[in-house]
Amino acid sequence: MEAFISLFSQYNVPAAFLVNIELTLWSALFSTILGVILVMMRISPVSSLRAVAGAYVELFKNLPLTIIMVFMVLGAYAQLKLSFSDTFATNFFWLAVTGLSLYTAAFVCESLRSGINTVPLGQAEASRALGLSFMQSATQIILPQAFRGSVAPLGNTLIALLKNSTVAAAASVATETSSLMSEMIEYRSDVIVPIFLIFAFGYVILIIPIGMLTTYLSNKLAVRR
């Protein structure tokens, strides 16, 4: 118990978790926008849009997140001089957000696509019979039902994103949890297990409410047919 108290007084653990939550929320925002655009492209009648969206999803689904993060820092920043800010910390933070968003958008697109699978054929047929155009039937009939059907996979994606935000360490974000844990273990190797438990249970506490909310919402919002 004393170990825990001294650790908490010595290091600012909640601040590190806050960095991860910020990373998660920004990436969730951007990846949702990109994911919706991708899924619209993927179901559109235009074959070139379909091909590009399909290629994007295949590419990012089959690449390790770590290599994307390393690429953001060592490739995009160090060699291509792509930078968001002159302050190192801010710059790396936004580079990490970019990497996470690009990666997660592929999974958001897949989740939404699995939601589109939950919409019965009759819905699309009926909307076409009523004379709605592709955009009208997609935005007014298909996607609203698809969103409700994809709450569960989207919640899973959000949880994965929160856990993946620790990989920002590979993009040199030094204030987030895995970097802080590494630093704490380095200086306090006598209490390595309590340090690990603090961070592990921190994530358990963050993830349980998301999981419960996802389950509740996916049952509540599921379209009863």
Binding site: R42, F71, K81, G122, A152, P153, V204, G211
Partner: protein, 377 residues
Amino acid sequence: MASNESAVLFDQPGPKGRKTIRIVNWVAGIVFAIVLVLILMRLHNPPDGENQLSWELWKPALDGEAWTDFYLPGLWATVRATILAVIGAVAFGLVFGIGRLLPSLIIRTVSGAIVEFARAVPVLLLMIFFWRWFAFAGLPSPAYWAVVLALVIYNGSVVAELVRSGVGNLPNGQREASLALGLTRTQSLMQIEVPQAIYAMLPAAVTQLVVVLKDTALGSIIMYTDLLQESRRLGSMYFNILQTLVVAAVVYFIACWLLSRLAEWLPERMQRHTAAPAEPEPVAPIAIMDPSNVNQIAVAKEGVPLGGAQRLYHVHHRGTNASIRHWRQTRYDQGYDETHPESQIKFDKNGRPLRENPFGDLRKEGKPKGDKPKGSK
């Protein structure tokens, strides 16, 4: 697959529609080409940097020495860790997945707590912890064992959930029949349900294999000399890290892509061996008490057997949160109404009932005995 969905969303375009599509196609194609050219120009001439497309930078990233000294040993390290982690994860998953289904409350609770904990902790934190711990304990090659153990624990918990959902997705009759034959609950679980669940989970497990392969790249953060770490080392020697990372990314992509294709090809084969649905989930079960939309997808795909009207209640109850202990409640939540058993009749694709006379039981009440409906033998 994309074509299936798109075929649903729009009609076969007429002459006017085809013209519009052609125009949009051209515009989109030009926009993508411009984006590509802009990226190449940026690579060719980055602000105060050297030309990233020059052969001088690409040659050391592609020549034979790079492969024999860096990429191939790195790839071997990645593959070695992946294989060991997969074997460990399957063992871990089977033990705790079955543990979560056993009748004993204590075993169930303990396995459940371990699985839920392992699913919630980020793999990177596990890796860093084991790495430091093994290093302090003086074990040989701590980074390797940390990568393997962290991946075993996380992916093992996912496999455990796959086992559990595989058993939960089996039709209830499997269990009822084995209990009726005099098997105990544990025997029914081990001899009837789990073997079928393993077939059902195989496609999803191969999808998980892709996750394991991708996650070994996290090892580069703890200095494990895998493919990513080796490509970084090579890149820092010739200052061409962008190029070496691209080569490593291509290698990762090809390996993962081949495994993904395998996972798409497997379900059809596996479906012959099991009564549970053998479709891989679009996203691995991660959320605690994970809900699943496999169920909703299945409902939407059942078609319109009753002549145009969507069926009110579907045949199977499916989903990863389907615990066999609460099947009655789950079925009710999912819309199955016990007072309407006729809605559970299975139909083939053409809307004909699979059983010869599905409404026989209902008709019997109002009709005299021996009056068979015409057409049945």
